[in-house]
Symmetry: C2
Subunit: 265 residues, 2 copies
């Protein structure tokens, strides 16, 4: 396959180098990644500033393009401008830290895969549950197998795969779980400090306090040493609430249904 | 109600001033908004840098706190640290430009509402379909009515409301539609230029080429001069694909079901 690689930890991160090594053995790999760390940028894109691209060569092996933007920028720019022919698959990662539960919405790694899906390309986000990760043996061993199972499949429109590896040696992995996005409870605080000029500033402090106990979730699966695979998409509509809201705004909606002009307030 | 106001166009934008004027007549309003424009930041949060807060007073009337961060930062910092007592409702906007269709995932305005929902607070995002907006008569007239219909309601867990106003005079508004997130097709390109030092840079150019023709969508509704209200949430799981993926990874999942150790690759 021809694979576009990106990440959110930046082109100099260990995770993208490991990903490059795993994928370049069997595939034609093209790297476009952020020049600097873009953790927790979510689905940010850059249009108030211009983007610049520069060539990066690491260790005499790894070759790629660094962009002064976000993961979503990298995918958009690669597909719209830089990469010809276009990719068969877009892979984002390997992220330091799991992207499970509520974390998913903050994730630059996931947003790159989502952007690819929006542009109509099959895509996966790959993360490992450690910050920093020391042991990459699980993705090194199992990611090629997962790619083989994906290759040639038709991805549902707009859907990408969010893949999370537990941080344990490959031989301790118990298998794959197809899981839904679960919940994570955080102990989240701001650390209030005073700078040398007597001005107040705040650091965000965040610790995972509690994992989702539901067995069909991403966070539970990786806790149990399964590789979690979650189909994700970018339609944020909460469908079960549509009817509820029609009730809340009943008169306003009903008036229109009768073909009357809405008087409103 | 006690209402926390924020936005993504920044504390000096016209939209948040209009929102302040609308809401402060009947409610106790507290403003915490980004110091600078944060359009298209998506659900970014800041933890690699510290946050600073400064007081802003505009026109002798509008009073608020400016934060050197994103809309999601503003909500998190306000709720975790700055605002006591806590809000009954969080309102983000009024954004210049509709947040409908695929745009929703890029929106800083919407991410502020989503962040509030994640923290357990009722929240709405408000946008108007023009950039820049000249006529705010529709939100000025109808937003208080919408707030009355919302007040005291129990929001479903994790759900916020994404409200989009057409850009037309209040008397031309036809009513409210409860709508799902639709699709927008873009003509998206990069404009490649060369700077005075002979280095290449790219500007993202994006024009809406086609609105969703489906009548139950947000984008169609505002085109038809209805106020679109969409329930949104932060669970990105694409539930219809869970079974499909179990098929793709059948053997790997099945092995585990039989209680066997997974051999993997």
């Amino acid at each position: 396959m021809r694979i576009l690689i990106t990440n959110d930890d930046g082109i100099y991160a260990k995770g993208i180098e490991v990903l490059y090594q795993i994928l370049s053995k069997e595939h034609d790999v093209y790297v476009v990644a952020p020049e600097t760390e873009q953790s927790a940028v979510g689905h940010a894109i850059t249009f108030l500033d211009p983007l610049r691209v520069k060539e990066v060569k690491r260790n005499g092996v790894f070759f790629g393009y660094a962009v002064n933007g976000t993961p979503a920028d990298c995918v958009k720019l690669a597909i719209r401008e830089l990469m010809k022919p276009l990719p068969d698959l877009v892979v984002s990662g390997i992220n330091h830290g799991a992207n499970v539960g509520e974390n998913v919405i903050y994730s630059g790694t996931v947003s790159a895969a989502t952007e690819a899906a929006m542009l109509g390309f099959p895509s996966i986000a790959v993360s490992i549950d450690a910050y920093p990760a020391r042991d990459y043996s699980a993705p090194i061993r199992f990611l090629p197998r997962i790619l083989k199972l994906i290759e040639g499949r038709t991805f549902p429109k707009g859907v990408s795969l969010n893949i999370n590896f537990p941080h344990c040696p490959a031989e301790e992995i118990r298998g794959i779980k197809v899981a839904r996005q679960g919940h994570l409870k955080y102990a989240e605080t701001y650390d209030r400090r005073v700078d040398p000029r007597n001005r107040v500033y705040y650091w965000l402090c965040s610790q995972t306090a509690e994992y989702d106990p539901d067995e069909d979730t991403d966070s539970y699966s990786i806790q149990q040493r399964y590789i979690a695979i979650t189909p994700i998409h970018y339609d944020l509509t909460h469908y079960p609430s549509l009817d509820l809201l029609k009730g809340w705004f009943y008169e306003e909606v009903a008036l229109e249904c009768k073909g009357k002009q809405w008087a409103g307030a």
